[in-house]
Every structure is written in C-alpha cells, then in structure tokens.
Amino acid sequence: MDVHRLSVRELRAAFEERQLSAEEICQALLTRIERLEPHLHAFIRVTAEEALEQARDIDRRRAAGEQLGALAAVPIAVKDNICTRGVLTTCGSKILQNHRPIYDATVCRRLRQAGAVLIGKTNMDEFAMGSSTENSAFGPTRNPWSLECVPGGSSGGSAAAVAAEMVPAALGSDTGGSIRQPGALCGVPALKPTYGRVSRYGLVAFASSLDQIGPFGKTVEDLALVLDVIAGHDACDSTSSDVPAEHALDGLEGGVEGIRIGVPREYFSSELDPEVGRSVEEAVKLLESLGARARSVSMPNTRFSVPTYYLVATAEASSNLARYDGVRYGVRAQDHRDLRSMYHKTRSQGFGSEVKRRIMLGTYSLSSGYYDAYYLQAMKSRSLIRRDFEEAFREVDVLATPTTPCPAFRLGEKLKRPLEMYLLDIYTATINLAGVPAVSLPCGWSKQGLPLGVQLIGSHFQEPVLLRVARTYEKARRFREERHALPLENKA
C-alpha cells in the first residue's frame, strides 16, 4: 500500500480496519519525507523520534481497548509559528532560533487529544511576513510542481509538504492570504476559517485582528475533519468566538442545489492572468451545472484592500513584535554597551529585512502626526470593505474568485520589489479584513504545468455551507483523481 497517497479519512479507515498501525503510517511518511525533503525544504524541523513515540503510544492505547479520537494515527505537520511544547518554534526567524515553547498552542493540544501525530514544523516566511517563503531565515522552500518556483507563502512549507504527499494534512496561519495563496500555488485545498473560529492561543502573533489558523489537506473532507477538531471557543483566547462550532463534516455531501454564488466583478481586474481567470470561470460553470445559481455582484471597495491591509497589518505587527527585545526569550545580541544598545542590536541582528521593513512602516503609520492619515483611515476603509461583504451576503451564499492573480513564480523574481510582492495578496487580504472564511481549491493547470486556484468565500461562521460547496466542486472536478506524478518522482 502506498501510504503517502492516502488522505486523512483513508488513513483513519486503514488504521481502524487494522490494515496499518500508527507506527507503520508514521514510518512510511518519515521515509517519504527523508527522500523528498532535500529537494523541497518544506520543514524547519522533522521531529521523527517524538512522532514515532506518539504513534507507538496510539498503537498501545488501541491495543488496550481505549476509545481514540477523530485523528488517531494521522500524521500532521504544523507551521513553525505555532507553539509546540518542548519543540523548537522559530517562526522562520533567527531571533527565535533557540525558542522552545513551554506550552502547546490550543490547536496542537486539540490535535494531540484527537490522536494526531505531530511529525514536524514547517518552513515559513519570517514571522509569516511574505508571499513566497523566501523570507525564511533557514532558506526557501521549493514548489513540488516546479523546483525553480516558489510554493507561495507565508505557509509555503505546509502547502509544499501536503502537495508532495509528505503528510496528509498540515496547519498554517493566514493573515492576508498565507494559507490560501500557497494552497493555490501548490495545488492543495486550503482553508482560512472565520476570524474567531479557531483559537489563536500559542500562535505567535503577527497581526492579531487578522491572524487565523487553518488546515491544508488533500480533500475538502479532510479540511472539514481537521477543522472540526481544532475549532471552538477557548478561554485562553479572548477573541475566540463562543458561537457554537457547527460540525462541518456532517452536511458535507449535501450538494449545491439552489446555492447562490456571487462572482464579484472587481476580482477579475487587469492584474489577473487570463489562464487563472478562465479556470475560475469554468469552476463557476461546473457548480452551475450541479444546481447552483451564479450571478455577478459588485464589491466596489475591493481595490482598497491591499493598501488597507498593509497599513493595518504592519501597524499591529510593529506593536506585536516589540516583545522581541532579548530579555525573556529568543537570541540576545552579545556586543552591547547598555540596555538600550542591547535592545537595538538584538532586534537589528535578529530580524530579517522584510520584517524590519514592515516594523518600520507600522511604526511610521502609528507615529504622532501620521496616525489619522494612515492607520485611522485604514481602519475606516476596513469598515467599508466589511460592508461590501455584508451587502454581498444578503444576496448570495458563497462568493467565487481567483485565489491569486498568477500561478507560482520563480525564486528571486519578486524579492527586490516589495510592492509587487504585496500585490499578490490582492484577492486574499480582503477576506481577512472582513473576517469571513474562505477556501482555495485547485481548479486547473497553467500551460507551464503549475496549479491554479479558485477561492470560495463564505459568510461569518458559515464554514459548513462553504465547505459543502467546495466538496461538491472537488468531487465533480476530480482534481485528486487526475493527479499526476511530481517531477521529482519521475526523476527517481
């Protein structure tokens, strides 16, 4: 049996029917990781020993007749900005290269309780700031479908690990597109839940009013399975919602009969690569053929989303990253004269250039004399962007847009021009500003053989409807069934 081929649900079935033990599953994926990792660098750290120990423990507990959770024996990779007790959590930054959290993030605690095996920490843009995973202090990750291309970012390691079938599922974090954009560029389903749906306790903060943890998987069904485990109120995160988390898995196969799909005109702008645009239009047509009703809608404030996002996110980041001062954790610079110079040297040596650039922008827009013109105006523009969504969702159930303006690009191509990199978030950042859930699904291939993505957006806390539409599309589109071998696999 090709264990790496299996989805979360299939692994669960094989484990339950005793075709595979947890240890066999874990070992098979570790072997796969060992083989592909030198080419991809999807992980910052593979925790092989800890993972095998967890897997053996699951096997022992099954032998003892214990009732096991929804993810028992399933190996899952976690982005390296999500705290794992006793296991280095670096955020892709030199400043945290020795940081061993003293507690598990709530999502990790819930994964462990459900029986999941945490197999490693995935690579990312430093502090989740970037759209290509090139800003990692530990070197870039490569796109499994083309090693010259980036996997997207900032959760590029998680996306690449799932795309290369090193793990059946992984967690990422999404502040302006950091789950959905790499999902699209690597051709894997990827979900950013509603703001407040999943606890952020133990997620290293980038922009607290935008950050949300979510899953990557091989199927929408797996996204729902993982979401149902990690979602729900958490007393440790005061922004986590107490709206009861409805199980997304239950109604998943309900189809799209009568579902109203809105296609916002503003998302099909001149920046959009025609190949991406066409494949998104085909996706909408396919959903219509299955019983959905599509219509064009207008979201006039869409073009303000990237400027709004970069002001809000950098302002929050400049405040959140003030905590890295070399006192309580992280790496402290050694050659200091006094406390002040210790702070300066620690931060200047510890942070990479994109992180420093964003701290600078955020500090500027919050500084005396500029606050009203920049930060306050951005928070107001955010209200207008939210209003666009509220109005659209009075008329439709789900919105369909491209996830990214273009397929994966080559390493280095956009590094020298920060603004060009920022514009890649044009279709994803709006969603974080409004706090609504959105999923990216593979919907086709470019002429160069790179995956293309469609983004489906739901209303607040409507993950069950959103994922039902996504599941219906995925079954009809048969993307997984049509999967071909990775270029890497052909070589071997």
Partner: protein
C-alpha cells in the same frame, strides 16, 4: 509621500532598530513607494464611517476572577537568554 533617509533614521529609533547608511537609503525608497501606493485611501470619503478595530461584536470576554495554576519560575525562565537566580538578567540600567 516621500520619506527621507533622515526620517527613516527617526522611525528606526522609535522601533529600536539600527541600519547602515546604505540601508537607510534603500528603506527610504521602499517606504516612499509603499506610502505613495497607500495614498489611494485618501480617495475614500470616510467622514461618516467608524473604524473597525474589532471584528467580533460579542463585546468583552470576561472570565470569573478565580485563581488558576500559572507558570512555575523554572518554566517562565526556561527561555531566558540570561538569568540571575529567579530573575531575568539585563545589562545595568542605572550607573
């Protein structure tokens, strides 16, 4: 909006960051480009719009004021770059 290298130097001081002269030049250019781009927000009439600072309307999240176990000293100090006894150690502040 044009940011000069001198202004970049001032912002860096506020953020406790240092750069080389060459880096200040590059930062001034990058920040100016980004600020020129975000200028478009001025087109929006926001005179009757209130700012969004929180997404959830559920209000404040209070919990009962009861004691809970908290971190031990050993745990709290586990990642300290430098420690002195049960404390975080920093360079001398008062001469």
């Amino acid at each position: 909006m044009k940011i000069t290298p001198e202004e970049a130097r001032h912002i860096a001081a506020l953020a406790y960051l240092d750069f080389s002269d060459q880096e200040y030049e590059a930062l001034a250019t990058h920040l100016s480009d980004i600020l020129d781009y975000v200028e478009m927000l001025r087109e929006l009439d926001t005179s009757n719009v209130s700012p969004t600072s929180h997404l959830l309307e559920s209000g404040e999240a209070f919990r009962d004021d009861v004691g809970r176990p908290s971190l031990s000293e050993t745990e709290a100090l586990a990642n300290a770059p430098e420690r002195g006894g049960d404390h975080f150690k920093v360079p001398k502040i008062i001469g």
